[in-house]
Symmetry: C2
Subunit: 347 residues, 2 copies
Amino acid sequence: MVTAATPAYHGTMGTGRQKQQRITIKDIAAAADVDPSTVTRALQGSERVKAETRQRISALASQMGYVPNMAARTLVTQRSQLLGLVVPDMTNPFFAALARGVEEEAASQQLQVLIRNTDGNEVAEREAIQFFLELKVDGLLIPMARCPDAYYATLSDDIPLVHVNRIDARHHVSCDMAHGTRAVVKHLIDLGHRRIGFVTGPSSPAQQPKRNGYEAALQEAGIGVDKDLLLHFDGSLACVEELADAVIRIAPTAVFAWNDVCAMGLIRALRDRGIGIPTDLSIAGHDDIALAACYDPPLTTVHWPMYELGQQAVRYLFQLHAAGSGFVPAIPAPTLVVRGSTAAVTR
Amino acid sequence: MVTAATPAYHGTMGTGRQKQQRITIKDIAAAADVDPSTVTRALQGSERVKAETRQRISALASQMGYVPNMAARTLVTQRSQLLGLVVPDMTNPFFAALARGVEEEAASQQLQVLIRNTDGNEVAEREAIQFFLELKVDGLLIPMARCPDAYYATLSDDIPLVHVNRIDARHHVSCDMAHGTRAVVKHLIDLGHRRIGFVTGPSSPAQQPKRNGYEAALQEAGIGVDKDLLLHFDGSLACVEELADAVIRIAPTAVFAWNDVCAMGLIRALRDRGIGIPTDLSIAGHDDIALAACYDPPLTTVHWPMYELGQQAVRYLFQLHAAGSGFVPAIPAPTLVVRGSTAAVTR
DNA sequence: TACTAAAATACAAACGTTTGTATTACGCTT
DNA sequence: AAGCGTAATACAAACGTTTGTATTTTAGTA
């Protein structure tokens, strides 16, 4: 047998490596004249290998352009060092902030975060989860989950799974969503409004508290919930035109929109129809996206502690890993941000 | 049957979730009384295994809750079925649209897309690339790359890599960025503007053509480039205030802003200072994000064919895989979208 | 010098797939 | 019934790591 072990360095003519030849731990072992296991340990910085050898090996590794093979590592360790994050839409600044919190916290535990969008589609969500399962991620984070709870229940044995803002789930980290919406509606009531429209959004169990807050505030003020004042936003900006027409028809003095984007679109569409904001009508949004402060008028809205939610969710995940049970995440409440799009009632 | 299947976990007894033994292909093989290789082939739908057996095996697989192990597959096939997409910021609707195109096209080839954000940070970009390398992705897509070209050159042997909108790169798919910016500046010139400010953004080789277009349009119209009319946007909305002050100081009749967000912030800040848009000053943006049409006034801007760029980039990648060389992507040019934020010069 | 504990390293068996090759089973033809 | 081509399946060797255990080396002691 010919010894094929040597990876045949091709003319290393000064310029650095040229050969596209996967360098493995074995190659390094051969070059350093040690066993592959020693290379592994050296690269891990194990105390078990002599400092000098460690030094020599890692020098060799970077010099040879060694790139560890995650697949092999995952296979043997049964840990991928990966966290899966399943979000409806990363374009939404709201989820972007959450992802930020997740990534930050995960990094502190040497974990990488993988993100998949679902477009709020239930089927896509399942596919994303399935994908992460195959990838053998070490944990799954699902904000605003769309599927029925039973589905996640079947999963929770396979993999640690934490929901965000889904209070009916087994493991979840949530802020008091209803608190924020209650505050904004109360704010409108305090301004003298009585006919307050509410634009609902894509329905999902995770979003239910939003509506509860609206109703709670009205009831606290002794105002009945009028079904006629409910409108619906399908998430597309095209929809704001008919929304504007509907608002004119039902003639509220204030509208609490599903989110900031919806509020902005609505303001523009209403202005096109000759309705001044906030002079003729007050409009509040939700989420407090970056542009909310930049709109004209600046948007009154609800700010969510998304970054913190992301952080806490990751911590919760670790508790689950450690078989701990009673983790109580500390989440600040959403806060009302009063800006220029709401004003005292004029009629 | 011996208990060899139990992988003897340390501790964790009691509180946590109980150990589930993952189902492997071997388990299915045992249950179906066939060889593991037959299971693999059955699951792949290979003609080599009898239809009835195939049927039986896949029934068994789903019944037993089998989840394929990507790591093992990747290890042996040397293909991860994964595509890496490295973007500065997925929050940017612009990159979101690109990702959409990439995902769509990749899906048609049974590939999954993994996305990593870099925040426009060069170090983060390298880390992201390194990460993807370890993950053994089948291809790398990098729009608006930040690092010097030499860096990517060293990579291109290891992995197929396609840039988006980076014309100095070896393999790239780009639209004629300068064309869009030239069109918008020409539009302003046609409206009678002569003093046209330009707000630059985070510099990167990929963004150079944007500025070239600005200068080209001026030169074509016989207007000199006045360095005093150049401003800078650092990407944060906080920056618009000082930007507004600067605009007032240098007193252009029109401003071409780095992007739509910048334009919106600037409009609001200028209004706060008593300057009407577009009556006193015209402002154009870039990117044509969804909210651009919803702003008040609706933004004149440049629409990019990002979705198409994403698609074409993936196709290019496949050409590279197939060792084909002369792929010429067909990319529509960016188009000018005239809305309400620009008007004829009044002074 | 012989002996031993500790340090350093080597060995070998996994991890869960895939795939080329070898083997068996089956249905024909003669 | 022997022979044969093919269909169906089994075998076995990878892929690149990690890690428990065995072995060697080293240095320190008696």
